[in-house]
Symmetry: D3
Subunit: 63 residues, 6 copies
């Protein structure tokens, strides 16, 4: 505890994920006052065809 679930678009490299979990864990420990071993982070890669905003799949958005 805390347990952090993150949904992001697929495509990030392992290096980006490595930096991400390190930085978010440090930010969590500093702001909430807990030890790093208490922080679990689970990343879920989401394809653009599985995420919609405004009723439109991101795989089909023009912007």
């Amino acid at each position: 505890m805390p347990t952090i679930n993150v949904q992001m678009f697929a495509g990030r490299t392992t290096e980006q994920k490595r930096d991400f979990v390190k930085a978010v864990t440090e930010a969590t420990c500093k702001s909430l006052g807990c030890g790093p071993e208490a922080v679990d982070i689970v990343i879920t890669d989401v394809k653009r065809e599985d995420w919609a905003t405004g009723g439109v799949l991101w795989s089909e958005r023009k912007d």
Copy 2:
């Protein structure tokens, strides 16, 4: 906000997902009174061997 997470059996086509997110977003905006850009939908495809009802995986159900 709102953010809608949907777990469904894998196998739907992109066309079905396109119709789904469009229809659910419209239904959400109409019933809750929010703008479409506020509605995020994330779809998770679940394999039948990863979903159980009544203690039996759907990949092994007879019905």
Copy 3:
């Protein structure tokens, strides 16, 4: 299946939730081709002090 989890700001009335689950279930059945009894919807009310966008809690946003 499908199972739909919805996070929305707290404050909606039971009437709004009733309309919402009815409309979203109909939209789901029509677009995915499943029976209504297969559709589960779970609503989670989120307080504005527990939701942040852009690093700012919604309870503290000016807009």
Copy 4:
């Protein structure tokens, strides 16, 4: 209801998942007093490069 979502490291066999959903459903029904058909379990396989504890991805932990 209840609906049980389980995140576990990828790599379990279908036989292990079959045993798992059977045993957890029985444990749930006995402790909560519900019928087995009311129990849904969804398993999410998580790769070791998508799970971090203590700020380190499990794919990169030494232990």
Copy 5:
């Protein structure tokens, strides 16, 4: 790991939850072959007015 999230109707006693987490943890360890300290369970109580099946809130179902 594994991490188990459970949504159930509100109203269970602490004694029922105590039995539930003990029984589910044992079932998990036995079927998946992991140590008990690796098993996290988080329970979410859901009000009947926040759960719908077939497009009807459970607070308004007749059965």
Copy 6:
């Protein structure tokens, strides 16, 4: 996107949550290369009687 769901023990102050979402958003933007408005964080407070590790509710753990 990304959307970050955080489960933590209840009891944090609004000030701690404010620091947390600010720090985690900054860490996310820096490591993943996205703009802050793309980052949503939803906090779920979990009571100690609803979280178990090793088959024991945290409200009943001795340590």
